[in-house]
Amino acid sequence: MNTRNMLTGLFLAVAVITQAAVAVSRSSETSVTVLARGPAGLRIEGKSASLSLDEDASTLTFQVPVAPIETGIGLRDRHLREMLEADKFPAVILRISRSELKFPKQSEPAEGTAKGELTLHGQARPVDVRYRAELGAGGITRVRGSLQIDMRDFEIKPPSYLGVTVAPEVEVKVELAVEER
């Protein structure tokens, strides 16, 4: 669940960056955070810095592998991979049409909400992604994106472990820096 959300956020954010040229994510500045909540204030954060980007004339495609997502507890990471069937669906894929995105200009950040298609757990669903992109020095664009998903939309059963059931709604936040190749 966490993984899915994270991936979605990453995809969206990356999509924002690229206008015409192929963009390359600077992995050292990529951060995907998936936040899930449980009863009595339980907070679970998954993090990853793994993201790839492909593009064609009309679409940006982002992939986030499930396996590298870490929640801070090894067993919980394994449960996450099992829940997402990572061996069968090893990556989360986000596709966003270029026409959905505004691109930043010098001293003029771009922000908005883009519609995309998120494929998670083998299920493709439309998603809304909020984003903000800002051109920085050296041709680097810094992007922040966020979205919320309901894991049940992707045929994922909210996990329950030793009396603690995680809420199906998951928040994903992405921060990344992209430079033109």
Binding site: L35, G41, G72, L162
Partner: protein
Amino acid sequence: MKAALLIFAAVGLCSTAAKAYPTMIRHGYTQCASCHTDPSGGTLLTQYGRAQSQLLLSSRWGAAEDAEPTAASRFLFGALKTPDAVTLGGWLREGYIWNTVDGKLVDNRELQMRSSLAAEVRLGPVRAAAEVGYAAAHTAQQATITRNQDGGNLVSREHWVGISFAEETGLVRAGRINVPYGLRNLEHTSFVRAATRTDINEDQQGGIALAITTADWRAEVMAMLGNYSVRPDAFRERGFAGYAELTLSPTVAIGINALAARADAAPGSPSPTLRQAYGLTARAAPWTPLVLSAELDALISTALGSGSLQTGHAGWLQADLEVLRGVHLVSAVEHLSSPAGGAAGLGLWGGAAWFVVPHLDIRADLIRRSSADSPTTNTFLIQLNGYL
């Protein structure tokens, strides 16, 4: 006489430490209610909490990082399966203490620190919890339920019934409850706990409390109606206490605390008094193995008859470094300026704890306390703690 008091205080240092680990913030656990039946932490572990104890606290002994918790994490090491609605646990803590006053050994002996059983039952939103145990003579006297003056007593640190609501975000309960104030630290005899009378070994109060726990903040407020282990009634404090803690990040939390309690009299003082404490707390794990926690309390004592007002403060700063999985080096510095007067006290704590296997740990502490008007005391305490 002064030496005798110091020895008595030192004995207090080693008495029953309850289980509470504010340092779990290093693993992103800023709130307590997932792992403990008390939403503000300490006391009985939930099933989830038992699992986390094995997964995060104990040495792994070669077990894979993603291995499921074993039967050893369960009640009675898995020998007795309990219904989901019932949570059971128990404590067995034994120790040995050496005390010196001005460098002279004045006391050394074995300590029976905690022997108790606890249970919680959940039926829909209704929750009920109780603990009963045995305390050796002259220990945990604020929690006794029997009246043996010169021998051991039965104790019950907590017993309450409550109703949870909003998908367990909230819990309102009534009974004998840990006072919601300050860090719920293991070092329950630290100056901050003693000066604010929020020692989870025995300073619970009867009353009604409302706790709210979310992923971003938690709070509990309590109307204190008196500790009914204390007699006569004139000595019982009544008032309010509460805290609110904000999660700034998964590994940083800050809190505010307040307590005001009135008693008609106190031992040696027939006049009514109002005791107040206002505190700030902070917990942070700047690096996963390292947790820093701090508390600073302003203390105010007012003699209601004469209107005289005395002030003081208590402070606590602790570092917990997990050098190997399950092995911790713990050090702290504390300061106390009591409203009751006397020179300010300084305490230094140093020690190590090893969570050897699930629910079994050993710990050694050296505590040095000094002030300008009292001899310096050193306490060395080793303890073995088992959780059933």
